[in-house]
């Protein structure tokens, strides 16, 4: 079972990124304070690259389906293939939903398709968890299980590398001088780390009483008319849409047209947010979700009813970004708890 598992030193990994930067756009995570963010690989900033830690501020969709993209022509030339290194299990699992929306059905989305096939995904184990991490409650794990081409698990000053796809295998094969075979001890150590971080997340889940997917099944629709709950949680919402934009599974977008100064006609796709008042409003003025609590409820309906029915998938990866992003202290875990237990508190207004 160790055939496809290798090790690579930190120095060799960064040399590899440097080599790949000639032919690819290489995106890596940088550490800044308590947070991590993705940016282009820059050998001058190697010291702050962190291929461990927790999920980054930007959801993975930012790179496959950017926040704003021109839609009138699909550019096939000139753009380099992309390698994103450091993608966590929570973000990778969102691809099940994004692929379903953009690749399935009567129309394949050519922009997403190009972004997806032109991107190599290098997964990455979390080396610790944050209190807002609850991937395990959402059937995930703090290490990639699916949708990665290759994975990096950080040890002290080296990484255990696992190839999952042909893309991953051929990368290792092309640069085999950088890699060594992993030993049994390396693989055991990787497992030890995975168990350690998983235990930390389970501890957070237990302490808070965060609900899991089997507990929240049907909870939204059963409490659809429990208006007091929805109104209480919406009481501090400022309709900024941050929860939608930070979410790795939120996929909604808007097409809009504009004219450039030279009268050149453009059409863009921009991420949209179902918390915005205008999201479902029609030209005549009718709006199926006039009230803010209806729009907050809609977000939960889509994630915990629509997608479980359409795809057998709870559209939350437990990444906790929406909790961190919300200026109204609305905690998705507390909403789900309220739905299941029938009691809840208003979000703290501080």
């Amino acid at each position: 079972m160790t055939e496809k598992i290798y090790t690579i030193t930190k120095k060799n990994l960064f040399d590899l990124f440097g080599r790949l930067s000639g032919t690819h756009r290489v995106i890596v995570p940088y550490e800044k304070g308590e947070n991590f963010h993705f940016a282009d690989f820059d050998p001058k900033k190697e010291d702050s690259i962190e291929l461990g830690g927790i999920r980054q501020s930007q959801p993975l969709k930012s790179f496959i389906n950017p926040p704003r993209e021109g839609m009138l022509s699909v550019h096939n030339e000139g753009s380099k293939p992309v390698i994103i290194a450091g993608v966590k299990g929570c973000d990778l699992s969102s691809l099940m939903l994004q692929d379903f929306v953009f690749l399935q059905g009567d129309y394949e989305d050519p922009f997403y398709s190009k972004g997806r096939s032109g991107t190599m995904l290098i997964g990455n184990d979390c080396t610790y968890a944050k209190e807002t991490c609850f991937c395990i409650a959402m059937d995930g794990a703090p290490y990639p299980k699916k949708y990665f081409d290759m994975n990096l698990s950080r040890m002290d000053d080296y990484f255990v590398v696992e190839a999952e796809t042909d893309k991953g295998n051929s990368l290792i094969s092309s640069f085999r001088m950088f890699f060594a075979k992993a030993s049994r001890a390396d693989i055991d150590k990787r497992q030890y780390n995975r168990d350690r971080v998983s235990a930390q997340i389970k501890d957070f889940i237990n302490k808070r009483g965060t609900k899991n997917t089997s507990q929240i099944k049907d909870a939204v629709m059963k409490n659809y008319n429990l208006t007091a709950l929805w109104q209480d949680f919406a009481s501090t919402c400022v309709e900024c849409g941050a929860c939608n934009l930070a979410c790795p599974t939120c996929h909604c977008f808007l097409l809009f047209d504009e004219r450039s100064k030279e009268n050149f006609k453009k059409r863009y796709r921009v991420w949209d947010a179902c918390l915005y008042r205008t999201f479902a409003r029609v030209a005549g003025g009718a709006n199926p979700r006039k009230h803010l609590y209806e729009r907050l409820r809609n977000r939960f309906e889509k994630k915990f009813d629509f997608f479980p029915k359409a795809l057998n998938y709870f559209a939350c990866t437990g990444c906790g970004r929406c909790i961190d992003a919300c200026p109204g202290n609305i905690d998705l875990r507390e909403v789900l708890k309220g739905l299941v237990d029938g009691k809840w508190n208003k979000p703290p207004n501080d």
Partner: protein, 272 residues
């Protein structure tokens, strides 16, 4: 690569002023467009924006398509300022058309309100194409005032298409010249010579009108699975990806825009 978000150019070859705020634009796309009555298309003002409309013309005609459009929002206001010879964009058709196969040999009971007669005109022309395949075709149409009736000059010719066509028009309020019925459209849904159990109904109009017509039809004995409703929702992509037009488990753009009432009756806020 096939790009579903781009449009083909179409020339405005004719504009008919139906009412003070409704016009029918006849568009000639660069290449013919095949659609089925009830499907919709996005009409683009290049560089300005787009909005979804159901063509109002006969789906057997593919080189020119009619769109009957009320000035209601940003895009439609600007469309109303456009002139013959101007160019717009078209993408689609999207969604499912009216299930004409299901309508065969049945009594067809159509109820329209205001500009909602636009998609129903496409349906009527589709029915007229094979008029003898349908047992009876009844249209009940309501407009706010006599001046708000669309397709005024055509409706008489529809009456003459066949003997088993019956058309009645009402207006919410009358005027000095109007000799027809006065009252909202539900007031002419009575004394019907129709087998309600078997007949199919197709309704399109403002949400409040559709709501009360649906309740009236159910009272009359129409089956909920035979009541076909056009659900107006905010749509952007038209292909089930952008998320705007979701109604419960459906997207109006790809699973509709026409739904039978049994499919949506238990879903929240369907009339808003």
């Amino acid at each position: 690569m096939n790009n579903p978000y781009t449009y083909t150019e179409a020339e405005i070859v004719d504009i008919a002023e139906e009412t003070a705020n409704i016009k029918t634009f006849r568009l000639r796309p660069k290449s013919p467009i095949a659609f089925k009555a009830g499907q919709f298309m996005d009409v683009t003002i290049p560089g300005i924006g787009e909005a979804p409309f159901t063509p109002s013309s006969n789906h057997n005609v593919k080189d020119v398509l009619d769109f009957t459009i009320m000035s209601a929002g940003r895009v439609t206001k600007l469309l109303h300022q456009m002139k013959k010879g101007d160019t717009v964009g078209l993408r689609g058709p999207y969604g499912l058309g009216y299930p004409l196969e299901k309508f065969k040999s049945k009594e067809i009971f159509i109820v329209g309100g205001g500009v909602g007669l636009a998609p129903l005109r496409a349906l009527l022309y589709a029915l007229f194409n094979e008029v003898d395949d349908y047992k009876k075709i009844i249209l009940k149409y309501g407009a706010r005032t006599p001046k708000d009736i669309v397709y005024k000059t055509e409706i008489d010719s529809w009456r003459k298409k066949a003997k088993h066509i019956d058309i009645e028009i009402t207006t919410d309020v009358g005027d000095d010249i109007w000799k027809g019925h006065v009252g909202i459209v539900t007031t002419i849904l009575k004394d019907l010579d129709v087998n309600m159990e078997e007949a199919v109904s197709i309704v399109c109009g403002p949400p409040i009108m559709m709501k009360f017509v649906t309740f009236k039809l159910l009272d009359l004995g129409f089956r909920d699975s035979n009541i076909h409703l056009s659900m107006e929702k905010n749509m952007s992509c038209g292909i089930g990806k952008c998320g705007h037009c979701r109604i419960g488990p459906y997207y109006a753009c790809k699973d509709g825009p026409v739904f039978t009432y049994d499919k949506i009756k238990d879903l929240p806020n369907i009339w808003d």
